[in-house]
């Protein structure tokens, strides 16, 4: 007889990328090598699209002076603050409108109307309200993050299976117990997905925010590279954006996996 534990079932350890990674790297590395060779052979002067070696040199120079870290941290701080605010507001609003029909009737029409406005259109107003410095930038990012989180959570709560909620009713769960033991675990997968799309939009909007006048940040590097005609610096900043975006998204996905191992989806059966 096995000792009946109340712990979660064991699931295979997280898998690390194996040969699949090498295969995925083939295309970008191959293209980079071809371009490098083409510039080295004089087929193109590489001035507008610098070869990988020049970009790597630029990245290295920016790293050595500490400028890259400073800019990246400034951008990361803005995304972090905006994401935090957007997630907090989106979660509260999504939970309210998903759970309560009254709140939904009261809030959802207004929020849907606001959602129809392209977020960048807020920029002039935010600058008037919050000034040209950090506050207006963070507000813009927060607006971008808010909507996917709000919509995702509201839809997830509304679509929780009535049959499973009835199991909770049979065992006479109180309101908070129902939220904690049934609704929260049931919406978690969709919530994580909405957080990830929110984070993606956060990175998108930080670029827009830093375009509107910043003295530091990766978006500033982009604008600076354009104005001074330094394409290598632009590509270097783009690469830094890509790496940071990927790392933060992976962190979010990684942090959520322990809670989602039960999912009976395609991903858990490969």
């Amino acid at each position: 007889m096995t000792d009946t534990s109340l712990a979660a079932p064991r699931t295979a350890a997280r898998r690390f990328p194996g040969p699949g990674l090498a295969l995925g790297l083939l295309l970008p590395l191959g293209l980079a090598l071809i371009w490098e060779a083409a510039v080295a052979a004089g087929l193109n002067n590489g001035r507008l699209f610098p070869p990988p070696s020049v970009i790597a040199g630029t990245l290295w120079a920016l790293w050595q002076t500490g400028a890259l870290a400073d800019h990246a941290l400034a951008t990361l701080g803005r995304v972090g603050a905006g994401f935090g605010l957007g997630v907090a507001a989106g979660t509260v609003a999504g939970a309210l409108t998903g759970y309560s029909l009254l709140a939904s009737r009261l809030l959802d029409p207004s929020l849907q109307a606001l959602r129809a406005i392209p977020s960048i259109a807020w920029v002039p107003l935010f600058i008037l309200w919050f000034g040209i410095f950090e506050a207006s930038k963070i507000a813009l990012i927060a607006v971008g993050v808010f909507f996917p989180v709000y919509l995702g959570l509201m839809a997830a709560i509304r679509s929780v299976d009535r049959k499973i909620v009835e199991v909770g009713r049979i065992y006479r769960l109180s309101g908070p117990e129902m939220v904690w033991r049934i609704l929260l675990p049931a919406v978690l997968p969709a919530y994580v997905t909405s957080l990830r799309s929110g984070l993606g939009l956060g990175w998108m909007f930080v670029v827009a925010a830093e375009f509107m006048g910043a003295s530091e940040g990766l978006g500033y590097l982009l604008v600076d590279g354009q104005q001074l005609g330094k394409p290598a610096q632009i590509v270097a900043a783009i690469i830094a954006f890509a790496i940071l975006g990927k790392i933060t998204d992976s962190l979010l996905a990684w942090a959520s996996t322990p809670f989602l191992r039960w999912e009976d989806g395609f991903a858990n059966h490969r």
């Binding site: 009946t4 109340l6 499973i164 199991v167 065992y171 006479r172 675990p185 009976d264």
Partner: protein, 249 residues
Amino acid sequence: MLALDNIGKTYPNGVHALDGIELRVDLGEIVAVLGGSGCGKSTLLRLIAGLDRPDPGRVTLDGTDMNGPHEKIGVVFQEPRLLPWLSVAQNVGFGLRGKRLAERRRLIEDALQRVGLADKADVWPRELSGGQAQRVSIARALVTRPEVLLLDEPFSALDAFTRIDLQDHLLHVWAQTHPRPTLIVVTHDIDEAIVLADRIVIMRPHPGRVQAEIAVDLDRPRDRAAHAFEELRRQVMAVLDQSLIHRLD
């Protein structure tokens, strides 16, 4: 004793689902509620479970009015309805409250053993077959020791072999439980009703009413191929035909 007094139900959309249902069920008795689709038999079960309110009428258990779900009444649904984010053992223990951890473990272990799934305690529900999942849901309903266990077409989604296996299994678990709980099984399967029940309540639709009650005086375990079984099947079939004639009138 579970008592239904003059139970009716009309939904807000005007559907008249049940009318004038009277039923008395003694502790430890097994009653099958048999009828075609749309005769209100699942509605009746939901009223007893406290998931819906009767209108008019009342449900009492040992003289106490049942207003909503009650700890003395357990439910096994047509689908297992296990919570996918909990292990099998955690699912079984879902309704256990106010007990120390060691006590809960013992009760869960005991319940899983009674349905023959002690080795599945630590797996996810997704790893179970349909029959195993339904056994876990029976364990979950029994672990809180209800006086009345309601089963809503519990085996109708399973294949014929698994269904017969689980019918025998349910009777075994019932016989092993002390004191024996009352079972009310809603079904549209005549054989299932005859195998399980001490008494078969046959319903007819529009609105749902009790057409007839038939006592099943066969010794247990019941042989599905026996002559007496066949005879009873014919009798039940005749009453069901009658209920259909009523509908065509």
